[in-house]
């Protein structure tokens, strides 16, 4: 093959690869994908008020303990959040509550947690983080942490 053609082929390969990577620009930014992405992170308009479902551990002294995302089913916060919100929409929060209670029962970090409850909490993010305003919570499910006799 003449060298000239090799350069033409290299140019075509370059253009095709770049067009493939740039293809998401033709989609709406909400049509995300992998590995070709529209990269919509941090782009959407959103208020600081947030309502979300999450589990809380309750100790015998009635203290609250936030549960790590890994306990819910994923080490990633957003994926753990998806697991909870899907369980809520499918009506399976009680089952997820039992699963979480079983997971934390043998863990030393949660040795004092006796109850797991799911709540829907609403908070203003800035008020919560900066001025420590608590979230308004509505309980959705509750279950006991059962441990064997020592």
């Amino acid at each position: 093959m003449p060298d000239r053609y090799r350069f033409v082929i290299a140019a075509i390969v370059s253009i095709v690869v770049l067009l493939i990577v740039a293809e998401p620009v033709l989609r709406t930014p909400y049509e995300d994908g992998f590995p070709l992405s529209t990269y919509p992170m941090f782009a959407t308009k959103r208020p600081t008020k947030l309502t979300m479902d999450y589990p809380i551990g309750i100790t015998a002294e009635n203290e609250r303990v936030f549960l790590k995302p890994r306990i819910i089913g994923s080490g990633e916060v957003l994926q753990a959040l998806q697991i909870v919100s899907r369980a809520r929409s499918m009506g399976t929060l009680p089952q997820l509550c039992e699963t979480i209670a079983k997971r934390i029962a043998p863990l030393p970090a949660y040795h004092d947690v006796v109850t797991v409850k799911f709540v829907t909490g609403t908070a203003d993010a800035v008020e919560y983080l900066v001025r420590h305003e608590p979230a308004n919570e509505i309980e959705r499910a509750r279950c006991l942490v059962r441990r064997g006799a020592p």
Binding site: V17, I71, I72, Q82
Partner: protein, 313 residues
């Protein structure tokens, strides 16, 4: 046209492309092997959490055993990819295996954006002659006529396109209003609140900045300039390196304000084509070879680090 051709096909040593193969491949190997237990764990989730994307629309959810098998096989392929063994066969298989594993991981209700560039770079390296140097395999009799430099340009251009896409998404979704800083502040506040309510660590600088929000206007303007102006990285190596430093700083800022880690750019891997990486990699291979020779008491098969100079510097 000739000027564009001369710029795109500017020569570069084979060792530079090979060094990128080694560094990106090593990262992919470590990234996959250390996260494989989590990939298997996620594959055990109920099917109600399945949200296929890309190739997983065709294959559906895999069993946890299949996820482990795919990840283990891909890890072996990635090790061979790094060593440059049977590159023409191994590299495409390693890239496909990595894409499948990571796409499957991203198909459980949430698409992350930490692995996209890694996969695309691996795909480009898989079709590039990146096994022509620093390889435990027979080297080609002669270099490709088109050289190695354009592959480095292509890797860099791919990085540039992803940043531009991120900038375009912000302007399309929020318009120029994104520049006033309020959207960014709200994103940071909400992201940290989610972390707090789910028992995760919030970012170290989130609370002080949320309490004094005027800085977010500057952050927003700088972000859009950095993302939409990413094409400047292709103008010259010097401009590109300045852009890379700013882009890296942007990712450090994301860690400080949101505790979100993008390891691929944070480790500088996204910007490797801008730097003469053959020098540190060649030095490391030389040290490894010396150590191996000392241990074995004889010359091993580890290739010598060629003394290289970049023709385009």
């Amino acid at each position: 046209m000739k000027r564009i051709g001369d710029w795109w096909f500017a020569p570069a040593p084979a060792q530079r492309l090979a060094a990128i193969r080694i560094l990106v491949g090593t990262f992919a190997f470590l990234w996959l092997t250390t996260r494989l237990p989590e990939f298997v764990q996620v594959a055990k989730l109920s099917s109600q959490n399945w949200g296929p994307t890309g190739v997983t629309r065709l294959i559906g959810p895999l069993s946890p055993g299949a996820v482990f098998g795919l990840g283990a096989a891909t890890s072996v392929l990635l090790a061979a990819f790094v060593l440059g063994i049977a590159y023409r066969v191994v590299a495409p298989l390693a890239a496909v295996g990595l894409m499948l594993s990571l796409t499957h991981r991203n198909s459980w209700g949430m698409i992350f954006h930490t692995d996209n560039l890694l996969v695309v770079h691996m795909c480009v390296l898989a079709i590039a002659p990146a096994g022509d140097a620093f390889a435990l395999w027979k080297k080609p009799d002669r270099a490709p006529v088109t050289g190695y430099g354009w592959w480095l340009k292509l890797l860099l251009a791919v990085t540039v396109v992803t940043y531009i896409l991120a900038g375009i998404a912000k302007l399309r979704l929020a318009g120029v209003a994104w520049l006033d800083g309020e959207q960014l502040r709200n994103q940071i506040a909400v992201d940290n609140l989610r972390k707090a309510l789910l028992g995760d660590s919030i970012a170290p600088l989130a609370t002080p900045f949320l309490d004094h929000p005027s800085g977010f206007t500057l952050f927003s303007v700088m972000t859009i300039i950095l993302e939409c102006g990413a094409f400047m990285a292709l103008i010259s190596q010097r401009v590109g390196r300045v852009w890379a430093l700013l882009a890296w700083g942007f990712h450090v800022g994301v860690v400080a304000l949101m505790n979100i880690w993008f390891p691929y750019p944070l480790l500088g891997l996204a910007y490797l084509p801008l730097f003469p990486m053959e020098r540190p990699v060649g030095w490391l291979i030389g040290r490894a070879k010396s150590a191996l020779e000392r241990v074995l008491g004889r010359a091993g098969n580890v290739p010598s680090p060629e003394t290289v100079r970049s023709p385009d510097e």
